[in-house]
Amino acid sequence: MPAQSDGDPAARDGAGRHPLRNLWRLRPYLRPYAVEFAWLLVAALAATAASLAVPLVVQRVVDGPVAGHDAAGLFRLGLLALLLGLAEAVLIFIRRWTQSSSSVGMEAAIRADIYAHLQRLPAGFHDRWQSGQLLSRITSDLSVIRRFLSFGLLFLILNLVTYLAVVVLLVRLHPALGLLVAASAVPLFLISRRFARHYHAASRRMQDQQGDVATLVEETAQGLRTMRAYGRGPELAARFTGGARALHDTGIAKARLLARTSALLDLVPNLTLGVVLVAGTAAAARGALSIGELVAFVSLQLMLIWPVQSLGWIIANGQEAATAADRIQEVLDTRPTIVDAPHARTLDRAQVRGRVRFEGVSFHYPGCAPVLREVDLTVEPGETLALVGATGCGKSTLLSLVPRLHDVTGGRITLDGHDLRDLRLASLRRLVGVAFEEPTLFSMSVWENLTLGRPAAGEEEVRAALALAQAEFAYDLPWGLATRAGEQGLSLSGGQRQRLALARAVLGRPALLVLDDPLSALDVHTEALVEAALRRVLRDTTALLVVHRPSTVALADRVALLDNGRIVAVGTHSELLATVPAYRAVLSAGPVERHDGAGLVRS
């Protein structure tokens, strides 16, 4: 079940669905602005009406005062044109002012919702999705949608209304010519439909490629030191050029489509205008049409040129918005698989004794071979259990199951007899303090990094945690704890970052500590100090540690040996050392053939 619903970027459905379906599904975001939108539509229509009235005034001027030599009438009509013009401008102002707040408001609301959703999606989702693809969704894709909702959609409506209104006026002025103009809508429709189809695919391709480029960039940013250490700049640049060139090619393909269509959309009204001109002139010559009417007819018809010309742009914009909406809904449609069960309960820190049991726990990443098979393990309250095993045997995966970063795919894990899945996530994660194999720091203040999960922590608590992790160096940073720690740890050494991460884990005395190789980057001296301090904490906290070195194993009351996803031995360090050769091999010595039991220091 989780394999399918976790959202796989590779598998896209939506084939056969209506291309605008996902765009339509975004309408709840429009709802708070429904009243405003209605008003701005009214303002926009009124503005269009005002601008349409002007040629009619011109007709009156030509046929009335000019023909009749009526100066007073001329200035009356001139004043009317002026008022209509001012009204139009004021209405446009109202429309734009209203629109600006609603469009950016919608954009921000959708972005906040996507972010919230992404934070709820499990680690497994983030393992599979490239972050650049997610990023391009909240930036490029959203601004495309914003542009469509604020301009494309409005102009689509406006232009249709303008078109209809103009055609009605034209038919009234001269039915035959008016109907001719109306008939020009048929080729326009055919051209537009064809364009929309082709553009849809190109637009989706472009957006996916934008995501790929963003991914490449992000990866470069992360792997910068490695790139530099090997001087692989040229190779990365070549790789980037590949991505950028794909964007370039798609951009040109899109532009070709748009160029062809928009030139055609120009041609049709122009040809219609030519026919109208010839026929109208002939009609005027016969006296069937006044010259004023002909001028009004032609100038009204000229008003159609822009709406038709912009049709290409609006359709392009609409298709881009549709594919952007598809991409956004792909993320929003992914259901978080690790969520609170309906009956989930909260455990109080005080109630927790801290007995953790793995009962027949199995785990595999979607579509892969099992990492853990039928693991049975019990950690008694207050006990410290060390997990030992060869590189890549599943130790870290096992730990990640405790705070439910992943859910077990078989069996269950219980805390004081409660299945972890019956506990509220927030409650469970408050009880568990975690330090990962790679200390993750964010570019924010050291204080913020430390109190990640406990924003209410007091200064004393923080001080105690820093002392325990031997991380008091943080106070000596230029701005103390207010110093910004870079995402890659500024110029902090690996050991310093690890100690900050450890301080974070022990802050607030969690009921259960889950530490993944917490001392690996410390020097021997610091390690000894941290160990001594940690030992005091571990005395009354249930803890699960992953360790690689004999020195850290000493912290544990018992040790479990993990091999190929199974627990093969559990016991105290000395027991296992004495009785389990595999344990000795993993923890203490070199290749077995050279093993002599005690010689740990050898070259």
């Binding site: 009509l77 950016v104 990023l135 030139a263 041609l267 020097d523």
Partner: protein
């Protein structure tokens, strides 16, 4: 402006109260570098803004220069299109004024001529428009590609120190969001911009030709248009600059928090992240809103001027027709031309907007391109002396600190003969990693020189330096791609057999072979997730394949289990025999394979000698050594 880092009472202290407003302003903490949030070229001072504008204009010039001929062609096409489009109203005028009377007299000639001219104009417009749009897109996309490559390439050249303060999120913002806003202009703006500008000029010309006094009345609108546009240009430049900065913060927070999603979820950081995101998101919203409101004033402003002009022309022109000083057809053409003039003007205001947004983005990119790498490639590189077995390293009175007020190394002297394996040990902050980074030329020393085979590292071409010196750290980044590709990163030309041999030598073959697709397993794809130890093994294989003269290992085996570490050490033992190696390790087991041990403290070498001698000498190393021995059982 650097404030003294003295911990005075003005330094904001973290608070625990959930006082949101204050709190949100504070979460990012204070950067150690005052320029952390921008490239150095960007500054708030007006001269700096002006300088940056000039830079970005120069950049635009450079980008367009290779396309001069195509640009010329594009302008020609545009002129043709414009001329064809402009002839429409004129032909209408001709039709009304010249064709009706002859037609009444039974002569269809003039009308036929007008119709033919109209058809020709329409087809010309079609062809010219289509060619122009395609050509413009070619130029625009080529410029974008060029700009993307330049900025990306420059980011690669910039030193590690720059990236540490600039943060990856901001780099991503520059290369995605900023380039997007330039692309937006290229996609849908430039032609309208040029067409509108051309319309303005040609319409003005035609009007003057048609009827001078009436045209004079029309041209009265120009100063107002100019004044309004200048106001908008100034106001929106500032507004868009703010949006670029605001969106960069959104991206930084987004990218970082999702990258660290495990920590976020494990520590229930989501609500606070959401609040921070809401704050930066809202900040961006407000910045955009300001920019959009400016255009909400500008665009109707243009409309007012246009409509006033129409009313004036109508009144004044009608009056002139009354007086018999001009034809009705001229008045009609005038009004039609005005429409052609103000209609694109309206759209122009919209595209002017994207232009401003793109300009702000281009300024940001120009700021990045303006940044000089602190660790630059030499103009005239020296080559390393040829011959096998080289790799002598020397530090000559090297001083260095990440911040000027906090020196890490001062006057360090160190000579490592070719082929020697040196272990560096000492407490955190002693300067071990700094020595490694200086030797890998991540930074340049503030004083003194680091030399390889007698050549100052600053005089070596980057490619040569990287072939000779490889640094393996505990952060082993794997790039997306297969395991084999990641190993081949060490030596791009290596064949599959060499890749596998490297993996075997380092003891990584077994686990790689057990992956779902073996060496072809995608490291970032489903199931390809490697543990920290496995990543270290891949990184080792990579270094092994690179086969450098000098190998630097900075805590490179920290995540390995003991047998694997042993395996790696044995492999290293053989490869290190004929090359220079600098090993930083906290585990003395690694140190034991060294020829020589340096104990560092406070940036100074306090003990120096073969491990066995030092262990016997009773100094710091001896203490550490015995501590470590005790810890083993």
């Amino acid at each position: 402006m650097t404030e003294p880092p003295d911990g005075s009472p003005t330094v904001p202290r973290p608070r625990h109260a959930l006082d949101d407003e204050l709190d949100l302003a504070r979460w990012r903490g204070r950067a150690t570098d005052p320029d952390a949030d921008r490239s150095r070229a960007e500054d708030v001072a007006p001269e700096a803004v002006a300088r940056l504008r000039a830079r970005s204009r120069a950049l635009l010039g450079q980008l367009l220069r290779p396309h001069r001929r195509r640009l010329g062609l594009a302008v020609t096409l545009l002129l043709a299109q414009n001329a064809a489009a402009m002839s429409g109203p004129y032909l209408v005028m001709l039709g009304i004024d010249r064709a009706i009377t002859p037609l009444r007299a039974g002569d269809p000639g003039p009308l036929v001529a007008v119709a033919a001219a109209f058809a020709t104009a329409s087809v010309t417009e079609y062809a010219a428009r289509r060619c122009f749009l395609t050509l413009a897109a070619r130029i625009g996309q080529a410029v974008l590609l060029d700009l993307r490559q330049r900025v990306y390439g420059h980011f690669l050249r910039l030193d590690v120190g720059f990236h540490e303060r600039y943060t990856s999120g901001r780099m991503v913002a520059r290369l995605t969001s900023d380039l997007d806003s330039i692309a937006e202009l290229v996609d849908g703006g430039i032609d309208n911009l040029v067409v509108a500008a051309l319309s303005v000029l040609s319409v003005a010309g035609i009007l003057l030709w048609l009827d001078l006094p009436l045209a004079a009345a029309t041209l009265l609108a120009f100063p107002f248009l100019f004044w309004l546009s200048r106001w908008f240009a100034r106001a929106s430049a500032g507004a868009y600059r703010r949006t670029r900065e605001a969106v960069a913060l959104v991206i930084v927070h987004f990218v970082e928090s999702l990258r660290g999603i495990r920590a976020v979820q494990a520590y229930r950081r989501e609500p606070r992240n959401q609040r921070i995101f809401a704050a930066v998101n809202d900040d961006y919203r407000q910045a955009s809103l300001r920019a959009f409101r400016l255009i909400a004033v500008y665009s109707p402003g243009i409309k007012v001027i246009g409509n006033l002009t129409v009313a004036v022309v109508l009144g004044y022109g009608g009056w002139r027709v009354l007086g018999g000083r001009t034809e009705v057809g001229v008045l009609a053409a005038f009004l039609l031309y005005l429409r052609r003039f103000f209609e694109p003007m309206q759209e122009l205001s919209q595209f002017y907007n994207s232009l401003q947004s793109a300009t702000a983005a281009l300024e940001k990119l120009a700021g990045v391109l303006d940044e000089r790498p602190a660790v630059a490639e030499p103009e005239r590189p020296t080559s390393l002396p040829a011959g096998p077995g080289r790799g002598a390293v020397a530090f000559r009175s090297v001083s260095f600190g990440y911040r000027p007020d906090a020196p890490i190394l001062s006057e360090l002297e160190l000579t490592v003969p070719a082929g020697q394996t040196v272990a560096l040990i000492g407490p955190t902050g002693a300067g071990k990693s700094t020595i490694a980074k200086l030797l890998a030329r991540f930074h340049d020393p503030a004083a003194g020189a680091v030399t390889l085979d007698g050549v100052d590292l600053r005089n070596l071409a980057d490619a040569e330096l990287r072939r000779a010196v490889v640094l393996v750290t505990q952060e082993n980044h794997l790039f997306s791609g297969s395991v084999a590709e990641n190993i081949r990163f060490g030596r791009p030309g290596a064949d599959d057999a060499a890749v596998e041999a490297a993996a075997r030598a380092i003891g990584a073959h077994d686990f790689i072979a057990a992956l779902p697709d073996g060496y072809a397993t995608e490291v970032h794809r489903r199931g390809g997730r490697l543990s920290a130890g496995q990543r270290q093994l891949v990184a080792f294989a990579r270094a092994f394949l690179a086969d450098p003269r000098v190998l630097i290992l900075d805590e490179a085996t920290s995540s390995l289990d003991v047998p694997t570490e042993r395996l790696v050490q044995r492999a290293l033992g053989s490869i290190m025999r004929d090359r220079t190696a600098l090993v930083i390790a906290h585990r003395l087991s690694t140190v034991e394979i060294a020829d020589r041990v340096l104990v560092l403290d406070g940036g100074r070498i306090v003990e120096d000698g073969p491990p066995a001698e030092l262990a016997a000498a009773g100094g710091r190393y001896a203490t550490l050594h015995s501590q470590w021995r005790d810890s083993l059982i």
